[in-house]
């Protein structure tokens, strides 16, 4: 009751839940297991836990949390590389708040800062550029991460630096792309998925068309969804309708933000500055073909990987961590051996405990909700 009441419009929420319940059995017909719907975006994971949506759904539906939290999928080796960059005496390393606490094999950026490295939290990559303007004697490295939502902002910042002829600014580029990631998930043998909640803000950039292969080749429905709880309920209902009618299409529930062709200016900035990497290493998922981007040759002077020698070591996660299984959706956060004991939001062992978009942190903060409290 409490949680439905927190919705913007509890009446609407109840209505959607009723519609979902009415459809769930029909949509699941012929399967001897619940329907598995994956939310790809960390923002959705957060809303789902925050509002207890998981517990409101009928037993025919199980939500699987995808790898859509960019901080969470960063492998330990990349964090170590970033720490190594930060420890260069001439470097000021700038980053978003979330990335400060991701554990590396030795330390996080936060710890590196405590030990004297110049690490600064910024709100925007343009702030990093301002710092570069102020400190021409230093090299200001921006730890760039995120899916297509944040990519245009770093690309445009590089273009601005070029325009102004600022030479002491560079990216440590860890941007990742959504499509190869979804493809890798679809190709993984141990995961059975029936449909996807598509990321809203990534789609605002890339549009609707890049997802077509999911419907055409893999015959799965995907519904691009907003991040409000009502958006998510409606999107789940849209997926169920498709399943019931044996359709598999790309639909857009978030039409108020997402245009089917995406954002042209943002895409062309990305295209100008970045190129696809052969492979990019993910925490828990291994190496995924074409899933990351790097700075193009033409912008080499803005690429920290070209300006500095970076250790670039592959470091295995600690044995006790089961982040990989949680990321692949084959293990529930609470079933990880260290969940809530040695691994907590204040002292994260794995990256999924760091960001509020990470499945483990979300589960830790909101997951213990008793389902009786929710449905009145």
């Amino acid at each position: 009751m409490k949680y439905v009441d927190e919705f913007r419009d509890p009446e609407q929420a109840r209505k959607w839940l009723e519609k979902i319940s009415a459809l769930a059995k029909l949509a699941q017909a012929g399967k001897d297991r619940p329907l598995h719907i994956m939310e790809v975006c960390g923002g959705h994971t957060h809303t789902i836990f925050r509002y207890g949506i998981k517990q409101m759904l009928p037993q025919e539906i199980e939500l699987v949390h995808g790898p859509g939290c960019p901080v969470c999928v960063l492998p330990m080796g990349r964090v170590d590389d970033c720490v190594a960059l930060a420890e260069h005496p001439e470097v000021i390393l700038t980053t978003f708040g979330d990335a400060m606490r991701v554990p590396g094999s030795q330390k996080s950026l936060h710890q590196a800062k405590a030990e004297g490295a110049d690490v600064r939290m910024v709100y925007s990559p343009t702030d990093a550029l301002s710092i570069a303007r102020k400190h021409p004697d230093k090299e200001v490295v921006f730890f760039a991460l995120g899916f297509e939502t944040t990519m245009p902002s770093t690309a445009l910042t590089v273009l601005q630096a070029e325009e102004e002829g600022i030479g002491n600014f560079s990216l440590f580029c860890n941007h990742i792309t959504i499509i190869p990631t979804i493809k890798a998930i679809l190709d993984s043998p141990d995961l059975q998925l029936d449909g996807f909640l598509g990321p809203g803000h990534v789609s605002m950039i890339i549009g609707q068309h890049p997802y077509s292969f999911i419907a055409k080749q893999y015959k799965k429905p995907l519904v691009i969804s907003g991040f409000e709880p009502l958006d998510i309920l409606q999107s789940i209902w849209m997926i169920l309708s498709q399943l019931k009618e044996h359709r598999h299409e790309i639909e857009n529930q978030y039409g108020r933000i997402v245009q089917s062709e995406g954002n042209h200016n943002a895409l062309s900035a990305i295209e100008k500055v970045f190129e696809v990497r052969e492979f990019f290493e993910w925490r828990g998922l291994g190496s995924i073909e074409h899933s990351g981007v790097r700075v193009r040759e033409g912008y080499a002077r803005y690429d920290a990987e070209r300006k500095f020698s970076i250790p670039n070591l592959k470091i295995a996660d600690p044995k006790s961590c089961q982040c990989g299984e949680v990321l692949r959706g084959t293990l529930k956060p609470k079933d990880c051996k260290v969940f809530g004991t040695t691994c907590k939001p204040e002292t994260p062992l794995g990256a999924l405990m760091v960001s509020t978009e990470g499945a483990c942190a979300a589960y830790y903060s909101y997951g213990q909700i008793d389902s009786n409290q929710i449905i009145s």
Binding site: T149, H201, V202, M204, I257, A266
Partner: protein, 95 residues
């Protein structure tokens, strides 16, 4: 991190660099509007527009009703404060 916060464009500060001052939940700061302008919507025509702001960039134009609703929801969820604080701090540090 992928959250966007609605803001209202109050002034164009550089037509050439496509920069504007945007009021985001009471914090006024410089925002890049390159992603939302084109020939049909030159920077000069953007004053008064509501936009979704993400890490210092306006990503999409939204209508006022959507903006108000989203702001209210974010406020209720208690999830805007950190980002607004970061925004305010960065504005103070860099201006």
């Amino acid at each position: 991190m992928c959250l966007g916060i609605p803001g209202k464009i109050i002034e164009i500060t550089s037509t050439e660099n496509k920069l504007a001052r945007v009021d985001v939940a009471g914090v006024k700061r410089q925002i890049n509007i390159a992603c939302i302008v084109d020939d049909d919507h030159p920077p000069e025509s953007c004053v008064g527009d509501w936009v979704l702001v993400h890490v210092g960039f306006a990503m999409v134009r939204i209508n006022e009703e959507e903006a108000t609703r989203t702001l209210e929801l974010l406020r209720k969820m208690g999830e805007m404060q950190d980002e607004i604080k970061a925004m305010q701090k960065s504005e103070e540090d860099n201006s």
